[in-house]
């Protein structure tokens, strides 16, 4: 017997009302204090913001040839968007209206899902819009699809579902941005399902306005031989948290998670990732870096769970952090849970300053101490961005990221 969307929503709302926001006593939220959300936005912080009009032209990614699906304060803006002709992309709002049953599974809230919190419950209960994307088997969209979320103050709950059929391919760019001066909350859940042999390249670009809070959740479920590639970039916002949960459920599936935080002032950025190896012969790669300036605070928690049957697992995780200021802080924790012997799991963490040998090498070539520091800082962060296949996205992020670091004065020269 199938349940109605309304039932799903009601259950999520009850779960939300019954449970409080997680506190720093909760291990998964030890370093990220969500009480700041209600302090900034009031007791009714979860109420969705009113619709506004905004000029979307200021949020372009130069030279990017893509389809655009644009949301302003959580509402789909059809006029500003440019969607592919084939009906593969619809807004969640119209899907709810026309075929609510189709959204039941997407909107479901599971309290016992890993890293699930009452923010997830609020999203399930309240998300009014988002993107629903279905790529049929053996096809691919001829251009990348950018989903632009402009948040202009207040709260928005966004729900995005992506289904990639057998051997289908999609390149998707989730771009969160804003220019407002007031506080707000973006509460976004993205669920991605990859059928056998499906491939997805996912850019998740968090460039929110300075006072915005951001809570994201990305859940990826992968079938046999599918491949998922994430480039997660965290530049904006006051308090930002993202949970990435990748489930390698069938043999031969692979995922690669690349992450870069560049934080300054009092920014707080937290990523919790969880990669589940649930089948044999799956591959995971994870590479996260942060550059922290001012009084910023970074958190990285990378959990890798290798199940009993997941023999021949090949997993490697690395997290490197560069602290540019004595007041910047990073809390990093790799966690491995391995339940069989036939696996290859490598992991490494570094926290530190620039490499002395590299500094001397540059100086011995006539480069001043200050310029050498610039070059090495740039290089440290750019190694992650160099993994991006899209040159326009990479350039856009490089410019946005390094504009935050006053240290970097010759960015255009380094972008050769």
């Amino acid at each position: 017997m199938s349940v109605s969307l309304q039932t799903v929503r009601d259950q999520a709302w009850q779960a939300f009302e019954a449970g409080a926001l997680p506190t720093t006593r909760d291990e998964d939220w030890k370093y990220t204090d969500l009480s700041r959300i209600s302090a900034l936005l009031g007791e009714q912080w979860w109420q969705a913001a009113a619709a506004t009009e905004i000029d979307v032209a200021g949020f372009a990614i130069p030279n990017l040839d893509a389809y655009h699906m644009i949301f302003v304060n959580g509402r789909f803006d059809a006029e500003a968007s440019d969607l592919p002709a084939a009906i593969t992309v619809t807004s969640l709002a119209s899907l709810i209206q026309d075929e609510p049953d189709k959204t039941v599974e997407l909107m479901a809230y599971h309290a016992d899902a890993p890293l699930s919190s009452s923010l997830t419950a609020a999203n399930s209960a309240l998300a009014a819009d988002g993107a629903c994307i279905c790529i049929a088997a053996n096809t691919r969209l001829d251009r990348p699809l950018r989903i632009l979320h402009i948040n202009d103050g207040g709260t928005s709950h966004l729900r995005t579902g992506i289904e990639i059929g057998e051997h289908a391919e999609l390149e998707i760019i989730e771009h969160f941005s804003g220019k407002h001066e007031t506080s707000g909350l973006t509460n976004s859940v993205t669920a991605i399902r990859l059928a056998a042999g499906g491939r997805c390249t996912h850019y998740r670009l968090q460039l929110e306005a300075a006072k915005q809070c951001h809570n994201g959740r990305v859940e990826i479920k992968q079938s046999r031989d599918s491949a998922y590639l994430l480039h997660a970039v965290e530049l904006g916002g006051l308090l930002s948290r993202c949970d990435v949960i990748s489930k390698l459920d069938e043999p031969g599936a692979s995922c690669e998670l690349n992450g870069l935080f560049v934080a300054s002032n009092r920014q707080h950025i937290d990523h919790h990732t969880r990669i589940e190896h649930n089948a044999p012969h799956c591959i995971s790669r994870e590479n996260y870096r942060s550059v922290l300036d001012g009084r910023s605070h970074g958190v990285f928690n990378g959990k890798i769970v290798v199940g009993v049957g997941a023999v021949k697992t090949d997993s490697a995780q690395n997290n490197a952090n560069l602290l540019l200021s004595a007041n910047a802080e990073i809390d990093t924790k790799p966690e491995l849970e391995i339940y069989n012997d036939d696996v290859k799991c490598a992991h490494g963490v570094t926290v530190g300053q620039l490499d002395k040998n590299q500094l001397f090498y540059l100086k011995s070539r006539g480069i001043s101490e200050e310029e050498a520091r610039q070059m090495l800082t740039f290089a440290f962060a750019d190694e992650i961005l160099a993994k991006m296949g899209s040159q326009p996205v990479r350039r856009f992020i490089e410019r946005a990221a390094f504009a935050k670091l006053p240290l970097i004065t010759d960015l255009e020269g380094m972008l050769v």
Partner: protein, 251 residues
Amino acid sequence: MMIKIENLHASVDGKAILKGINLTIGAGEVHAIMGPNGSGKSTLSNIIAGRDGYTVTKGSITYKGKNLLEMSPEQRSWEGIFLAFQYPVEIPGVNNTYLLKAGVNAKRKHQGLQELDAMEFLQIVREKAKLVELDQSFLSRGVNEGFSGGEKKRNEIFQMAVLEPSLALLDETDSGLDIDALRIVANGVNHLRSKERSVVMVTHYQRLLDYIQPDVVHVLMDGKILKTGGKELALELEERGYDWVRQEAAA
């Protein structure tokens, strides 16, 4: 005179490594410094280039009439000192050409010259890359990133050719090279020999000196220069080892 080292004593972590080096090198001369492992050869070249971690406890280094030990590594580079590293560092993400352009222009600025524009610079770089048979594709790669041992050493000589130093220190540039790579590296160095440029080759092996003929050969042992001679001294060392030098010095 290019450089004059007088009674140089230096230590690392409180341990004395150099114990009174005296060495004078004239403009245009090529000197070889040979010696067994741990004799202080690399320490000497690192101190001349200005690497941290060494304490000069006594003595002086005068370079082109100036007190070298007061200069930062980058100032030394602007004044014409170049160290070809024994173990060149990989710097992924810093473009080879960008590094050199920044280095050359910093030096020109120091000399009161106008900076080179991108086109002028690229021309120079292409020409010098040919000198060491370095493929053009290396120019746009990260500094030494994924280079083989031989490619790294060639890249050092290529950088030297672009930066046009007055005093080049080659720290074991020959070690680990096969014969072809050694020939290419030596060709590059020979091509750069001139009346205004001095070269110091620090090496274990005589074979490099078959390709680059030195004017003077020094034996550095136990933190001191124990013997100085012509290029025939290198052949003698190859044949007889180093112990006789120590015995002779003690006698």
